[in-house]
Each structure stands twice: as structure tokens, then as C-alpha cells.
């Protein structure tokens, strides 16, 4: 069970982060967060979204770094958890990239 859980953890972090950022986005647009300026010219909405994205990315990277390095020949049991972590980081980078590129609301 623990092995399967470890294999799913990376993608689980992506799913949690994706849901969190989407929820922050919806809440921020509804509550007018883009109009609330914070220090340094950053608005509250952008700050929340960046924080959500970076936190997810950090969690994924920490998981990835903690996974033992194994070669592809080591067998699926050994490399699947690391592959899962890698897929999670890749998905977080790509699917939440709009935080950096798109207008928020």
C-alpha cells in the first residue's frame, strides 16, 4: 500500500495544487483581489496565485529530491515512484504556467 501511495504522491501534489490555485483564482476574481495592491506593486490576487503555484512546485520538487535515484533497469517497482514525482512536477509547471502569462480575471 505504501509503495502505491508513494507512486501516486507526485501526481497527488499536482492535483491538490491545481485545485488550490483554481479555487484561489475563482475566489480572488469574485472578491476583487486584483484591486487590492500589496507592497511592491503586486496585487493580492497575483500574490495568492504565485504563492499557490510556487508552494505546489516546491512540494513536488522536495518529493522528487527525496526519491532515491534509480536507473531504468532497476525495475518498475523502484523507478515508478520517482517517475510519478517527476510527472507531478512537470504537470505543475505546465498547467499552472498561465499564472505567469495570462491576465487573471
Amino acid at each position: 500500500m505504501m509503495w502505491l501511495a508513494r507512486a501516486l504522491l507526485g501526481l497527488g501534489i499536482w492535483a491538490t495544487g491545481f485545485s488550490l490555485v483554481y479555487a484561489l483564482h475563482g475566489t480572488g476574481c469574485a472578491r476583487g483581489w486584483p484591486e487590492v495592491a500589496l507592497a511592491g506593486g503586486v496585487d493580492q490576487h497575483a500574490a495568492a496565485l504565485w504563492a499557490g503555484w510556487l508552494a505546489t512546485l516546491a512540494a513536488g520538487l522536495i518529493l522528487l529530491l527525496r526519491m532515491p535515484r534509480v536507473s531504468a533497469e532497476a525495475g518498475l517497482r523502484h523507478w515508478l515512484p520517482r517517475a510519478g514525482a517527476l510527472m507531478g512536477v512537470g504537470a505543475t509547471l505546465f498547467t499552472l504556467l498561465p499564472v505567469a502569462l495570462a491576465t487573471s480575471c
Partner: protein, 857 residues
């Protein structure tokens, strides 16, 4: 008792995946004697009554697939009616009302009554054979699922015959499907009928998950099991998580239609977009729920037909995991035109593009396998090639639709209709036709009649592409979906006429395919064993498969051999747990990852109880449709009583002597284990339940934050006076959780535990009483605003779980009184603890949300 026996009795080490598992062979016996002994224990009852009481996976898997095929043919006939109507620009073949009903029923039948039950049937039929076990984990649940599917489907079909079928499209968007715009019972038929059918989907998901994780033949590690099982595991988990949002949405809309609680009514704080979110939270994963089993078929067939091994087993497993997760991040791409902010559009556009990656990995793995091997152009390979051609085109148009600007142009046009048919027919129907050609010898024990199958393939392929390829152009020229006439647009006529003509060609092809199957079943020559020279265990048995599947369970030494090399040793009882010497249905339960033997499961026999339960649920559905709401309490009480009988049917004296499995290996029976299959099934069901609760929390958040018309009118009834009721409802389940722990401690000590069970029952009863008190006068009218409706639903959710926990507590009390709970056997206690803990966690969350909603004014 040997060391291995001691290990078996004390529990296996879960992650002992790398340690070799050596189990000696049982001495060979007379195969015919074993066959007779096993058939007596496993066969269905004789005659028509035997069909009613059957719980065997082979019977029910075939029944699921046969019924799904009938629904496919009915859905196909409906599609021909649609094509006849659209063949000319002002078709008078159908009036608008009937046309709306027919296209709605076509989509609903194909999605809910064909595709999902077909994959369920294939999984139920095949998994035990492929994994080296004798049946699914919960045979009565399999039967219940079948009857719910059949009755739900019949209700929907009957509605069509009487002209009251759903007519709002297969995704039932509100407000079109709300009471104001869709009076009558048409939409109710869909909401109640589809939810009824979904009971079978959830039942299948639970038992498939448990079967794959805990019933693989000893030594069949998770990382080495057949790819088909990985695909189906991914599918079943997606079903557990994907169906609850739709069930919730259907329940909310039915409550709105029946009782006026406004979840989707903008004027009273609801929002139609909540329906779209909940529907597509199910709807997009649904595409992958349908595709993954088909991909599993391809990964099974292609290497054998190419006389080689699959390329990239590990990469495919990783892709399956990625698909399972990523497919839940795409749902909003069905809502790109509803006015969602740019950034949200971009999130889901990116996720929609990303999901193409794991799909493409699989396609390249299959191409690599074909490149590496020597492909043989047998009938299943025709359909595999048809899949490649069709699905890749569907995937490419999917990538086009993932790009927001293009999506805006093509949204709701015939282009989308063409795309979804390329994906679903290419990605599901073609592989299923390949699967039918592949496993028909296994099912019938007969060879097919040569020539007809190939002819059917070409007619289907030409008919399909002739119908749908051109439909892309029809869409790009602007023709919307679901219109019945297009008088002002003569430029669409030749396109539609062409689609209609080829649509009929495709139908002829499917007719030929069915004829080919019928000829094989009734007139084919007797099939020799293992005609495909396959390596998997599903061919390591007599054809057609016997009721017990394996005379002895495959041992680790049988797993790396060709099927034909292990058929005879298994039939002679040289595997594990040979025959049925105790005249009951037994198989092995193994550990999750390493598949090490853990205990022996004992299954219930044939019973009509599943039919009785589903018929009672059917009575509830019919009374709801008739608007006789007070009377629905009767079938609900009936279901509760039958579920109690269901539970009593599982109780039997526990055999404390270990059961011989192989020389030097003895295992305890399930009654002496805490983590039985039933416990695992409850965990799966709670995962689905948790998803439903999370969807409800999402709904609360969505309406409270996004919906117009908030905050609602001032809260009247709920003030400080209601607080005691809220606190009791929130915390009493927690008291129940403490009581169940006390009961468990008593069980281990051997003391009676009557008081603990009684206190647990009482705690849940108090929670129910508190909720009744709140409902009687301390909650605002749920019809006035979505806020109050949501609070009502949250209270209902807590009440339902307090009722379930009370039932389990009562069952434990009864078992304690009867002396069925002993220090070695915990009876219902582990299951009660799971459900009680779930209630203890969700009740306070629901209470906080309900109080928070009240403060939102």
C-alpha cells in the same frame, strides 16, 4: 505447522515484493473429479430461477455485455432516425419534440447503457480469469449492479416508448432541464434513471478495485500483473472518484425539480454553472473511463498478435497513472464559452494539451510493439488498425479543441459531434470489436465462420469515416448540433445527405458483425484451446470457461509460463486450494503489492437478494417519477431491511482451523482476519463517498462565492436556539467512534461489548434526533434561497451517515447478543469503525459549513 503457515496466520509483510515466494505443488488429482466437485459448489441453480439467483462472474459478465450490446443496437437505431431526419434540410420525418427525445436518448444510451456497462461486463467476465482467481470479490454486488442497470435502462426505454423520454441533451444542462423549462417527467426520467444505473457503475468500481488489489494469484506482483489489469484498475479508481459528482448533481437537480430547493435557479441564489461544473467533473474523466479499458484490450492483444512482448510496460503504467490524475483537470474545457476568465481558460487549456502526452506514449508503445514483432493480420488486428486510424484523428481534433480560440469557433457545432464520435467509436468501439473477435472463442468455445468478420470490418470502417469525417466540414461551415431542420442553409444538405447514407452503411456493418457473432455462437466448429497462443491465464482453462474458473489457483511457478502449459496442471489440482472439499466457494486473498497469500475468502452462494434490493430501489424510482413522494418512504424502509438481511447472509460460524492450501501452507479463513475483502470494499466505497462530500463542499463554495443573488435573505429560524441541535448532530458521531473503539477493545478481551455497541447506537440515534429537531422548526425554508437549500442538504448528508452508522451499531449489538463476535472474530466491528469514523469527520465539517452559510448574510 511450517514457517510459511505461521507467516500466513500472523499476516504477511506487505512490501516483501522482492523476496521469492516458493510454494510446493499439490499432488495431481483426477481432473474430472475436481470438475464435478467444483461445479457442484459454484454452478448456478438450474432453470429460470437459476438465472434470477446467479451471482457468478462469468454469467453476469456475459449478461452485462449482452445487455449492453442490445442497448447499443437500440442506440444505433435511434441514430439512424436522427440521420434520416437530417438527410434533407426540412425533414418532416420527426417533429422537434420527438427529435429532441431521440438525440437525448441516443447519447444517454450510448454513454450510460452501452459504453460503461460494456466495460464493466468485460472486466467482470475477464478479471478473475486473468488474475488467477475464481470470482469477483463481491458476487452479490455484481448481481445487484446488473439488476440496477437493467431496471434503470428499462425505465428510460419505457419512457421513450410512451413519449416522455428526456429531451434536454445527454448532459441535461440547467436551466433547460429545470422544472420551469422542462415540465413533465422527461428530465426526471433521466435524473432518476441514470442515477439508478450508476449504482451498478459504483458497485462495479468497488469490486473491480478490490479484486485487482487483493485477489491476484500468489506471486503476481502489482508491478508484473497483466497490463489489462492496470488499465482496469485505473478505470475503476476513476469511476469511484468520477461518478459521485454526477450523482450529487443529479440528486440536487431532482430535489430542485421535485421540492423546489433552488440549487441552479439564479433568482434564488443558485447557478446553472454549478450543474456544468459537477457534470463535467464526471463527464470528462468519463471519456478516459471509456478509453482506458479499450487501451487495456489493445495492450493485451497487440503483443500476442505480433508474437512479441509489449514495448514499454513501465512507461505504459506511468502513463495510466498520469491519465488517471490529469483527466480530472480538464473538465472546464467543455465550458470554454460560458464566460470564464482568461487565466482559468488557460489552466484548463494547458491541462487539455498535457493529457495528450501520456496518451501518445501509449500509442507509440503499441506502434513500437508492432514494429518489433511480426504482426499477423487476423480479425482482431483489422479492428486494431481501424482504431489507430480513427482514434489518432479524434485525438488530433481533440488537441484542436483544447486551443481556446478554435474552441470558441467550433463550440456546439457538428465539428464537436464528429470529434466525439471519432474518439468514442475509434477509442472504444473498435477496440471492443477487436475484443469480441478475440474472446468469442473463449466465451462460446467455438470457432468463427471465416470471411464474414472481415467484411463487417470494412463496411463499418467505410461507413464510419463516410459519416463522420465529412461532419467536421459540416461543423466548420457552422451547422450547430442538435437542430432538426436547417431550411436557411442549403449548403449543408449534400454534407448531411452524405453522412446519412454512410451512416446506414455503418449500420449494415454492425448488423454483419452481430450476424458473425451469432453464427459463431450457434454454428461454429468446436474451438481448440488457446487459439491465439496467448501467455495470459484467461486461456489456461477449458473452453468455454467453467463456473469455478480454475480447478486450482495458479501458483507462482505457473505465472511465467504459456497458458497452454499450465492448463492441465491447474485442472489436475496442482495449483493452490484445489477443488471444493468443504463444498463451498473459496479462493485466496493476497497482499496488495507483493501478492503474498493472506487468507482464504469464502463467498456466499446463489441468491435472489440482489434482485429484491434492486426491485425495491426501482419501486422508489417509480414512486418518485409518479410524484408520490410520501410513499417513497416504504421502499426506502424496504431497502434498509434488505440490506440488514444482506449482512446477515454473510454471517456464518467461523472455522478457526487453518485451511490447507498447498503442502506446508495453511491459511486462516476470512473471519479471522480484520482486513477482509469486505473491509477493503468499504474503504473503496468511502473514497467514492468522500468524493461526493468534497463535491458538495465545492458546490457550497461555488455558490457562496460566485453565484449572483448572495447573500440571501436574513436568516430567520437558525439562531442561538438552534445551537444545541447543531452541536449534538456534529459531535454525537464522534461519540459513536469512541464507542466502537470501546467495543473493539472488549472484543479483543473477550468481554461481551453489549454496552459499548448500545452506546454507539444511542450516540447515532441522538444525532438523528437532533437533526430531526432542527428540521422541525430550527431551519429556514429551504425553498427560499440556495443557502438554505444547501444547509438542508448538508443536514441530510449528516443524517444519512448517522443512520448508516446507527444501523452498523445495531448490527454489532445483534451480533454481540448472538455470540457471533469472539476474541478471534470481530464481526461487523471493523466495518462499523470505518463508517463511524467517516461520519465523525464529515459531521463537524458539515456543521461548520452550515453555520458559516448562516453567517454569510
Amino acid at each position: 505447522m511450517t514457517d510459511s503457515t505461521a507467516q500466513g496466520l500472523t499476516g504477511t509483510r506487505e512490501d516483501a515484493q522482492d523476496e521469492p515466494l516458493t510454494i510446493a505443488a499439490n499432488p495431481p488429482q483426477r481432473a474430472l473429479g475436481l470438475h464435478r466437485e467444483l461445479t457442484k459448489a459454484w454452478a448456478n441453480d438450474s432453470g429460470w430461477w437459476g438465472q434470477v439467483t446467479a451471482v457468478n462472474h462469468t454469467t453476469l459478465g456475459l449478461r452485462f455485455m449482452g445487455t449492453a450490446l442490445v442497448f447499443f443496437l437500440i442506440g444505433g437505431v435511434l441514430s439512424m432516425l436522427i440521420r434520416a431526419q437530417l438527410a434533407t434540410h426540412d425533414g418532416a420525418f420527426l417533429d422537434t419534440e420527438l427529435y429532441n427525445q431521440i438525440f437525448t436518448m441516443h447519447g444517454s444510451i450510448m454513454m450510460f447503457l452501452f459504453a460503461i456497462p460494456m466495460l464493466e461486463g468485460l472486466s467482470i467476465y475477464l478479471l478473475p480469469k486473468l488474475l488467477g482467481t475464481r470470482d469477483m470479490a463481491f458476487p452479490r454486488l455484481t448481481a445487484l449492479g446488473y439488476w440496477c442497470y437493467l431496471f434503470g435502462g428499462l425505465i428510460m426505454l419505457t419512457a421513450l416508448l410512451f413519449g416522455v423520454a428526456p429531451r434536454d441533451g445527454w448532459f441535461m444542462y440547467t436551466p433547460l432541464s429545470s422544472a420551469a423549462h422542462s415540465p413533465g417527467i422527461n428530465a426526471d426520467v433521466w435524473l432518476l434513471g441514470v442515477t439508478f444505473v450508476e449504482i451498478s457503475a459504483l458497485a462495479a468500481a468497488v469490486e473491480i478495485t478490490v479484486t485487482i488489489l487483493r485477489q491476484r494469484a500468489p506471486g503476481m506482483k502489482l508491478t508484473e500483473m497483466p497490463l489489462f489489469a492496470w488499465y482496469i484498475l485505473g478505470t475503476s479508481v476513476m469511476m469511484l472518484v468520477g461518478f459521485p459528482p454526477l450523482i450529487l448533481a443529479s440528486v440536487l437537480l431532482e430535489i430542485e425539480r421535485a421540492f423546489g430547493w433552488p440549487f441552479f435557479d439564479v433568482a434564488r441564489g443558485g447557478d446553472p454553472l454549478l450543474w456544468q461544473h459537477l457534470f463535467w467533473l464526471f463527464g470528462h474523466p468519463e471519456v478516459y473511463i471509456i478509453f482506458l479499458p479499450a487501451a487495456g484490450v489493445l495492450s493485451t492483444l497487440i503483443p500476442v498478435l505480433c508474437r512479441t512482448q509489449i514495448v514499454g510496460y513501465g512507461a505504459i503504467v506511468a502513463s495510466i497513472l498520469a491519465l488517471v490524475f490529469l483527466s480530472f483537470g480538464l473538465w472546464v474545457h467543455h465550458m470554454f464559452t460560458v464566460g470564464i476568465p482568461h487565466m482559468a481558460l488557460a489552466f484548463f487549456s494547458a491541462a487539455s494539451l498535457a493529457v495528450a502526452v501520456p496518451t501518445v506514449v501509449q500509442v507509440f508503445a503499441w506502434i513500437g510493439t508492432m514494429w518489433q514483432g511480426r504482426p499477423e493480420l487476423k480479425l482482431p488486428m483489422y479492428y486494431i488498425l481501424g482504431f489507430f486510424l480513427t482514434f489518432v484523428m479524434g485525438g488530433l481534433t481533440g488537441v484542436m479543441l483544447a486551443v481556446v480560440p478554435f474552441n470558441w469557433q467550433a463550440h456546439d457545432t457538428a465539428f464537436v459531434t464528429a470529434h466525439l464520435h471519432y474518439v468514442l467509436i475509434g477509442g472504444f468501439v473498435f477496440p471492443m470489436l477487436a475484443a469480441a473477435a478475440w474472446w468469442m472463442p473463449q466465451i462460446t468455445g467455438r470457432e468463427r465462420v471465416r470471411g464474414l468478420g472481415e467484411a463487417a470490418f470494412w463496411v463499418i470502417l467505410i461507413g464510419f469515416h463516410g459519416t463522420f469525417f465529412i461532419m467536421h466540414l459540416t461543423g466548420l461551415l457552422g451547422m450547430p448540433r442538435r437542430i432538426d431542420v436547417y431550411t436557411e442553409n442549403p449548403e449543408w444538405v449534400w454534407l448531411n445527405l452524405t453522412s446519412s447514407i454512410f451512416g446506414f452503411v455503418m449500420t449494415i456493418g454492425f448488423g454483419l458483425f452481430v450476424l458473425d457473432m451469432a453464427l459463431q455462437a450457434f454454428m461454429g466448429q468446436k474451438q481448440r484451446r488457446d487459439p491465439w497462443r496467448a501467455p495470459t491465464l484467461d486461456w489456461a482453462m477449458p473452453l468455454p470457461a467453467p463456473a469455478y474458473t480454475f480447478a486450482s489457483i495458479p501458483a507462482p511457478r505457473h505465472l511465467d509460463k504459456e497458458a497452454r502449459d499450465v492448463t492441465l496442471p491447474l485442472a489436475r489440482g496442482e495449483g493452490l486450494l484445489p477443488g471444493a472439499p468443504r463444498r463451498r466457494r473459496e479462493f485466496l486473498v493476497t497482499s496488495l503489492a507483493g501478492a503474498r497469500p493472506d487468507h482464504v475468502a469464502i463467498l456466499p452462494g446463489n441468491t435472489a437478494l440482489p434482485l429484491a434490493v434492486s426491485a425495491t430501489i426501482g419501486a422508489f424510482v417509480l414512486l418518485m417519477l409518479a410524484g408520490l413522494y410520501p410513499l417513497t418512504l416504504l421502499p426506502l424502509a424496504g431497502v434498509a431491511a434488505l440490506v440488514w438481511l444482506w449482512g446477515r447472509g454473510m454471517v456464518r460460524p467461523v472455522d478457526e482451523a487453518p485451511i490447507p492450501v498447498a503442502p506446508g501452507w495453511q491459511l486462516p479463513e476470512q473471519g479471522l482476519r480484520r482486513r477482509t475483502l469486505g473491509w477493503s470494499g468499504s474503504v473503496c466505497l468511502l473514497v467514492a463517498n468522500g468524493t461526493l462530500f468534497a463535491s458538495l463542499v465545492f458546490g457550497v463554495g461555488f455558490l457562496a462565492v460566485v453565484a449572483p443573488g448572495w447573500p440571501g435573505p436574513e436568516v430567520q429560524a437558525a439562531g442561538r436556539a438552534a445551537l444545541p441541535g447543531v452541536v449534538l448532530a456534529a459531535l454525537m458521531p464522534l461519540s459513536g467512534a469512541l464507542a466502537v473503539r470501546w467495543a473493539e477493545a472488549g472484543q479483543r478481551r473477550g468481554s461481551a461489548g453489549l454496552v459499548a455497541a448500545g452506546l454507539g447506537l444511542l450516540a447515532n440515534a441522538v444525532a438523528l434526533g437532533a437533526l430531526a429537531w432542527l428540521a422541525a422548526g430550527h431551519m429556514d425554508d429551504p425553498t427560499q434561497h440556495a443557502r438554505d437549500a444547501l444547509r438542508g442538504v448538508l443536514a441530510g448528508y449528516v443524517a444519512l451517515h448517522a443512520f448508516i452508522a446507527a444501523g452498523l451499531g445495531g448490527f454489532a449489538l445483534d451480533q454481540t447478543r448472538r455470540g457471533e463476535i469472539t476474541p478471534a472474530h470481530g464481526g461487523v466491528l471493523p466495518t462499523w469503525r470505518l463508517w463511524q469514523d467517516y461520519a465523525a469527520v464529515t459531521a463537524p465539517i458539515a456543521a461548520v459549513l452550515a453555520v458559516g452559510l448562516g453567517m454569510s448574510t
